[in-house]
Symmetry: C2
Subunit: 393 residues, 2 copies
């Protein structure tokens, strides 16, 4: 949701679906800038505001939009009524600022729909069993839409964003990137976690869990978007669905870690306790058979690098590794596709292309539908174009 | 509530009461300009927005303030928690934008107070039994405070405004006006309805009904305010409590109305159906015994004058009066005081002072604690000063 003008556009779009005879529930987010403005006000009063009160404050952003959206529909003579997350029956746990939806009781939504209304629901928010207002964290409005689509058994769920849909690669880096007509949940999840930031992973996970088919499309035009759904047999005909490049990671290497049971557990438990999200982990084979030691590398989000190094330094005496190295100038290049399961030689082809482009591979990590490599940051974009050209043309 | 700075001042004031060992519930309104901004946004979308959606929209104003106020208390290490009107248990009827409080279930307030919190409640709002968000209309936050004081059996209820308290007259017109230490509900009601706009009548009526003693005082300084409470015997020692001047009325006179039963009823029923609020009504004696007719005058709020004339013109054929006159250049001067009941000659003294000041009296209306006269607008302020000087020094 941008501003009052965007709100009127939403109303016009809704009118189009009504004309087809559809019943419509609209989930809206705060207008652009509103949430940031509220956070700024809060921080002017207290640098680290209470999360309960932040939820109380931020929930007003969506509440403002739902009322204005209902009015915009009224202005077009369309019956409409707004509901806060609490009123819409969205029940969450009590983890303020990042609550999880526990259940949805859409009694009021059904009543308003049955009375002929378009129902406008505030995204991003809910309430606990005890009636505390909560918010769902980043991407919360998408999550609200998908959860409501599941609860209402909707025929169609559309997620409006500022992009046209999901592409085979970021078109700003790969000019030949194409919009995908459809993608499986698992592929979308790999792409979401790989930095193709169309949607948050947990919204896609929720959709997968409850079988909600949804379309990612643009709020700025009428182009068809990308359908995200359960994998179908013909999806495997395509070897890879997309290529992504994550420039926001940093690599940490522990050199000559004594190779004994429990060492890796100790390291990643300590990082986990410090709330540092570790992505790739690679451990090399032991160097010498008589005094076994190994090099252990992992990647973290760049902003967490300093904290990760502090945690690791605190373990040096206990674990006895010789030194720690880190590198922020890396990129993680990934290819994703359910077709990998039925096509052999995909990894070999990717490595060959990288070799032809004189790109050294630092780390490798794979899943059944994804191959990721860590390479030098400055090699990232040319390598991405080369890999895209080879697999996707 | 003005702005973040004012919010911090509120927090500091609350801290002072906590230091005395009090439990504190704070009712806050929207920050200045916020409500007007929301109304402006709504009207940009639709000139006459739905009242249900206006309530949804406007309720965000107070919700923002309660969260920020709780944060300001947290910043002072004071435990605090905010509650929307709905969460605070304020149940209203379903008349959107001017709902009436039906009952208060302060379960959550008590729980939070018992846990050692200052409780911040959003004024001006509540919810229906069905969970619809409602607002209470003008002066709604004062009403919330007084209703909560009644429900919580509070020892003290303070209404913070931009004036120091209730004065014997408007100090901008009467420089010798004094702040009153105390005033009875009935006197306050007469003053409220007479244009001394410290508080809305219905808040005072609510306080009277439930015996809530409250103090009207300034949010800008530490001066003691005015205590509003049930009449006490010694209050009658003072002849009049205050003088007020209402410049916002207009007079309508129906000349030569046939004096037969049902005429007045017909006129004022028609005005009531047009939602025109009639204040004073004066009917003169019949002019001639054989063909009885009378002049009927009444006053309405100036903005309603045109509508009132239209209604009256529509009745001309039916009622057969000869002509209609109206006058916007009037002022209603009133003196108020429970002491009138036990002091005779108050009206005579007032009329004498007006005569000495060459002020012609147009209409007179009295209650047991009030005398109002309609005079020419330009005579209003000098007459007010003269009457104040004579009764209150």
């Amino acid at each position: 949701m941008g501003n009052p003008e965007r709100i009127k556009n939403v109303a016009a779009r809704v009118a189009g679906y009504l004309a087809k005879g559809d019943k419509v529930v609209v989930v809206v987010s705060a207008m652009s800038g509103v949430t940031d403005g509220l956070i700024k006000m809060a921080k002017a009063i207290m640098p680290l505001p209470s999360e309960r009160e932040m939820d109380m404050l931020l929930a007003t952003g969506e509440q403002t939009t739902i009322a204005l959206t209902a009015m915009a529909l009224h202005a077009m003579k369309i019956p409409a009524a707004s509901l806060t997350g609490a009123q819409a029956g969205i029940v969450t746990d009590g983890v303020h600022t990042k609550a999880k939806i526990q259940k949805i009781t859409p009694r009021k939504i059904h009543a308003l729909l049955d009375a002929g209304n378009v129902v406008i629901v505030a995204g991003f928010q809910g309430q606990t069993h005890e009636g505390q207002i909560t918010t769902l964290g980043r991407g919360g409005s998408d999550l609200t839409a998908i959860a409501l689509a599941a609860a209402l058994k909707a025929d169609l769920c559309q997620i409006y964003t500022d992009v046209d849909g999901v592409y085979t690669a970021d078109p700003r880096i790969v000019p030949t990137a194409r919009k995908l007509a459809e993608i499986s949940y698992d592929e979308m999840l790999e792409l979401a976690s790989l930095g193709a930031k169309v949607m948050q992973s947990r919204s896609v996970e929720f959709a997968k869990k409850f079988g909600v088919v949804f379309e990612v499309r643009s709020s700025l035009n009428e182009n068809p978007g990308t359908i995200v759904k359960e994998e179908t047999p013909n999806m495997e005909d395509v070897v890879i669905r997309g290529v992504s490049l994550d420039k926001n990671q940093a690599k940490v290497t522990l050199v000559a870690v004594p190779d004994k049971p429990g060492v890796a557990a100790r390291i990643f438990k300590a990082l986990g306790e410090a709330a540092i999200n570790v992505d790739m982990i690679v451990q090399n084979v032991s160097r010498k058979a008589d005094s076994p030691s190994t090099d252990l590398s992992f990647t973290v989000d760049k902003p967490d690098l300093l904290k990760a190094r502090t945690v690791i330094d605190g373990l040096r005496a206990e674990l006895g590794f010789s030194q720690v190295e880190s590198d922020e100038n890396i990129g993680k290049l990934s290819i994703v596709g359910v077709g990998m399961r039925s096509h052999s030689g995909v990894a070999a082809k990717m490595f060959e292309i990288l070799a032809q482009n004189e790109t050294n591979i630092d780390m490798i990590s794979t899943s059944d539908i994804k191959i990721s490599v860590v390479i030098a940051l400055e090699k990232g974009e040319p390598a991405m174009r080369a890999v895209h050209a080879a697999f996707l043309g």
